[in-house]
Point group: C5
Chain length 348, copies 5
């Protein structure tokens, strides 16, 4: 659950181990302010030429099964073997690594797969002055689609800026994808809170544990993104242009908002356990009150009827004409008195 990474301790560093077996999909997108091209690539060598023109080149790879191809890609673009190992070794902690002429960014995308079940997919981004490569685990989910749509339409600043702005757009798309997940979680949190107040059960407790775990994972994958974006805004290598840094600062604000929401939910989740415990206590109290009221009323009455059930020969009351109705009357008064006391104590 927590160590999804099955390390064989002592395996050589920078060993590339394939993941899954569906062959990877390679797409090459090239554009400038006027033109936009997007086509599927069969052999990785076809993309190598993309660096040689002034257009922005985005190579996207879906699937981690072809180690050979990644290794070629790495050699051509000068990607560090340890970085490629991290691409394959999912899940990684989100991070940024600055290499001599490019950055390597790893992020974990959140997808909600049920109210308290968040799954993550790793995306890796390499980008330098004249290339940008993204590598994803699978083609099923794609958080980059809206960026592609904007590029095709040529709206906004999308096509007029360089690789650094494209990198920003992709990271921002990734960050913004936390919001719908958090919204879904928020609805489930409110529902669970009501449930805990109204009819707490063992199932609520299990849900609460799932919620806490989901928040733990979200936090772990959101928190480092903050640092990641910060270190991009502080870049001094020149790979990030000043005008892009303003956009990155905006992205940084979003990561803070995400953390705020997660921390808010964590606060609430912590309080929920107390609600659960107090709901339990209140229920026990209610049960006890019923028992006490019933017992306290009937135990003395039962004593009285037992008293006149004794077989002593000499019990003058038993012989009197009105012994029975008087006794019943006394008992009725006693019961009414008791009820009044309990009503005053607000136990009824």
């Amino acid at each position: 659950m927590f160590t999804s990474r099955h390390f064989k301790p002592g395996s050589a560093p920078a060993t590339l181990i394939p993941r899954g077996d569906t062959p990877p999909l390679i797409t090459l997108i090239q554009y400038d302010a006027e033109t936009y091209e997007e086509h599927r690539v069969e052999r990785i060598e076809e993309v190598f030429a993309c660096r040689d023109n002034s257009k922005v080149s985005w190579i996207n790879i879906d699937g981690l099964s072809d180690v050979e191809m990644l290794s070629q890609l790495g050699k051509h673009f000068g990607l560090h073997p340890l970085a490629l190992e991290d691409v394959l070794h999912t899940p990684q902690r989100p991070k940024i690594e600055a290499f001599e002429n490019h950055f390597f960014v790893v992020m974990e995308m959140a997808y909600a797969d049920g109210p308290f079940n968040v799954i993550f997919e790793q995306i890796s981004i390499f980008f330098g002055a004249n290339f940008l490569i993204t590598i994803q685990e699978e083609a099923l989910h794609d958080v980059f689609d809206p960026v592609r749509v904007r590029l095709r339409n040529g709206r906004g600043y999308a096509r007029t800026r360089g690789h650094d702005y494209l990198a920003y757009s992709l990271i921002d798309a990734g960050v913004d994808h936390f919001f719908p997940v958090l919204e879904l979680l928020g609805d489930a949190v409110e529902e669970l809170e009501d449930e805990l107040l109204e009819h707490p059960s063992r199932e609520s407790l299990i849900k609460l544990q799932e919620l806490k775990r989901a928040l733990l994972f979200l936090r772990r994958n959101a928190w480092p993104v903050r640092e990641l974006v910060t270190s991009l805004t502080r870049d001094e290598s020149g790979l990030i242009k000043p005008e892009t840094k303003i956009f990155l600062r905006d992205c940084y604000d979003h990561t803070i908002q995400i953390m705020d929401v997660i921390e808010g939910y964590r606060d609430i989740a912590t309080g929920m356990m107390d609600i659960y415990l107090s709901s339990l206590g209140m229920r026990t109290n209610e049960v006890m009150r019923v028992l006490t009221v019933v017992s306290t009323i009937f135990i003395p009455l039962t004593f009285i009827v037992g008293l006149y059930g004794m077989n002593f020969e000499y019990m003058p009351e038993l012989k009197t004409r009105y012994g029975y109705p008087v006794t019943v009357g006394v008992m009725v008064l006693l019961a009414i008195g008791m009820l009044a006391v309990f009503r005053k104590k607000k136990w009824l």
Copy 2:
């Protein structure tokens, strides 16, 4: 509740989306030590000329529905599109952004709408060497009114200082507006504390949750204001004059006081859950004690009367003359003894 911001992940950055549909109210205030003018403006172009004289110019806009107008304003005053997006994209986390020739400040004003229900309205302030623009969500609440009154009267330092002092006055008005909200909350806190000690119920628990949430929101919207004011006091661009910085330091003290109060309430709210739980425990204890006292007194007595209710043929006591009164006497003594024991144990 937490993510009031309905992000469409992947929407282009710096997209201006209108909020609400009532047309915005634009007011232009211009003053110097001698003169003061305030008039409603119909078309945004009318305010563009205000930068060209030596007076202090304050443009106030209530309402976020007219994207076109904001966009023109932005172009004329050189406001960054991302900043304008933040103006529209409420609620934002309070923050300050330093642009080349102006500051952009966002704050969330707190209004109490019931004891534990705090609502927030966003105010955005742009100010440079020769202009100050404030943009608010709606005209209903206006925390700036007292500033306007002071300007009209020309009291205090109000009219003799520049745009930076005006910006300080507005931020300070916003900060001080937290105090009445906190006072209201404080009264409600004390009431709730008494309620929890005296007669805790499920409703108290719900109120406590609401209180915690209100404090969470207040904290989230007050804490960043502190940093915001700090970074203004440390400004090195020259937009903030040294004599204004002394005033900003005073404003900084107020933000710290606000945080102190909020943290104090949070401490108290945390303790309240314990009070609630212990009140519950005490009640259960009390209920149990009643049950135990009644049962412990009557169960042995009921046994005795049951004993002499047996139908054995040979039970000599039943035939004796004083069997009945002696038995009753023994039972009375037993009951009195029990009561004495319980009184000694302080259960009565």
Copy 3:
């Protein structure tokens, strides 16, 4: 309770609002190694000349009702209007402000007014190279008396050093005044702890809440003093002489000791809630045990006597000669057996 400051949001900054209505007492003390003068001053102008000789001058003002006088004082000594506002606007958070030629120090003096009721009085100190002004809320309590006594006697370093040493002496007197308050609180804490262990009640809970609140206030008013003293020891303006800084470091140690004690009490207060809850649990347990023992012994016996109280015609035991004594014997044995079991379980 927390916001004793009734802000009118939007009131002009640096507005002086009088507090109370008893006219202020003004005292002027002037001394050097040989001489010591102390006399009451009627009109504030009389003290203005004190800066012009080489003696140490200490102007003490008790009472905050005369705004006009304070304003004159401020003008003569160059005190900032915002500082004067803070003097009047009690309670302030303890703080130090460095102005061009003087320091402004605000502290809150603690006085114990009952075991868990700590009240605070604000003292403000302005001091520069050739003057020292102290302003207090009222003349009732005076933490400065011991300093005055030492000055009169001329003991210690008291009279041979300058305004900075006098300022240190006054701050130190203020800091040391926390100790007797903490000692009183400490006694009350130990008493409360015993009470919670021995006979916890709703009153103990209320006391515990009061204790927590008192600690919260003490902490809030002690913690900033630490920073205040630190920044004096780091002064680079030359107003604080190096030999005085050694004394300030000693004062700093005292503030740390105060914080240590407060944090220790807070730890203990947090643990007290657990003690209370567990005492409650232990009591419920004890009550339950009594009920269970009594019920478990008598319920089976009552069943047996009920059995032989049945009116079946054919119940051979009823006719036998020794039915009754045998039954009673069995019941006695049963009861003894039960008691043995409970004793073994340590329920008795």
Copy 4:
């Protein structure tokens, strides 16, 4: 348990005290890109010559019983006596010490010896420009085996790099060895969580305590490794080559992942106590409900039958023909009504 170190306070610093009594095993490995030699050494003097060639030399010592030998080794390689004391004085806190021409690294290797029983073995590494010495407590476990295998095979970067890379490989092997231990712990955590939800017992509580303790120890021995690796990546002595630092950064990521997992488990373990308490509360509630339902149904009925068991002479109901069946009918209806009420309250 916590202070496995039996200090004799006041013993002279840098005293070497032997541990255990099995004679140490000394192995010398020497290699370069082409050659690889590994042989057992009997007398420590045999290894002294290893520094004089260009090969990478790795001296491994298993066993801490021979103080004399270590002392000779220390003298030859210039190891500080305090460092040698730390080698013998197990367990140490993981740390790095930079000496003039070598580094001294201490780490604690984790081995799982049962679900919640983690044991640690200390490894000490000395490495300089032309030597690397590892000293382990015993030969039983050896986390360095995979590194040896890689060296023999000459795969990866293994044999082409210097002593710093070898040191990295060994540290990395140590760090990665935490993962299988954490995985085992993770399984046990999930099992325990289910146990606490399903059938909590005193044994679960003891397991939970053991788990918490294991996490405490893991954290204590993992956390300092992080700093250790960081300070190696920041080395400025030149002993660590820049290309090795990239690998160390990868190792650093692993330590962070380990801490993340440990903190996650700690969070869960903290939550488990609450689950345990609430499971207990739920059980008590269930027990109470059974008691209350049974008592509340039968106590009134028992009263009724007691009523008609009274021996009053004048009780007209007793004489009627249908008294008995009507009474029974009433009681059945009463019981059914009660059951309906309880079913509505969801107590059944």
Copy 5:
């Protein structure tokens, strides 16, 4: 308990107040690599000459009653009056003060006086280039004895190094003295943990409180030692030689280990309260279960026997031949069924 320091607020700073009344014992130790002298001194003036030779001089004073003598000592060696006040004003927070030509170190030595009762004795060390003075509260305990033994024997580095190494030895002896206290505490902790799991009582709770308090004090007196040692290792005055700093770093490691152990115990102590509460809950549960089982079995049976104890004239069952045995049989079956149900529910 927490404020053992009975401050008279406002007493003059640097006032020397004697403690106790036994006259102080003064010992002078002088040594170099070859010679070692140790003799008792009657009059303080006899030690003043010790600075004038090249030997290491250690003046030890046991007892704080002779203010006059300390004052002379201070004048001769240039000790600051505030430092001497701290020597007498026990207990101090451990600290180091750097004066012009000497250091002043205060530490609190821990002695275990019962499992959870830790007492502290203050030791003060002044040391400069050519003198070292230690002042202790009393001669009863002496943590410096082992150092003296080593000096006499001339073992280790003991006699070949200067005053800084002697100071290190003394501080190290003080630090190491925490370990036996912690070991004793550790045993008591484990015992208490078992007690809480097996048979929790009010006494355990009191012990737990004592434990928490002991840990609080240990932490308060150990934590600042860490900073103290750090600042010695960072000394730039030249009083501490580089080779001594390596030893101080070792001493620093010990302080960290002490803090680790204390924090570990604190974690465990925090968990103990939860264990206590859950043990209480489990006991209540057990008591309830016994009550419920007994009641639930016998209450229905008692109803049945009551039923046939009614005196209705027409109750056909009473007349039948097998009414009684059938009824008894039904009751036995009922009881067996109940027991089976409870066994299935694991309540028995």
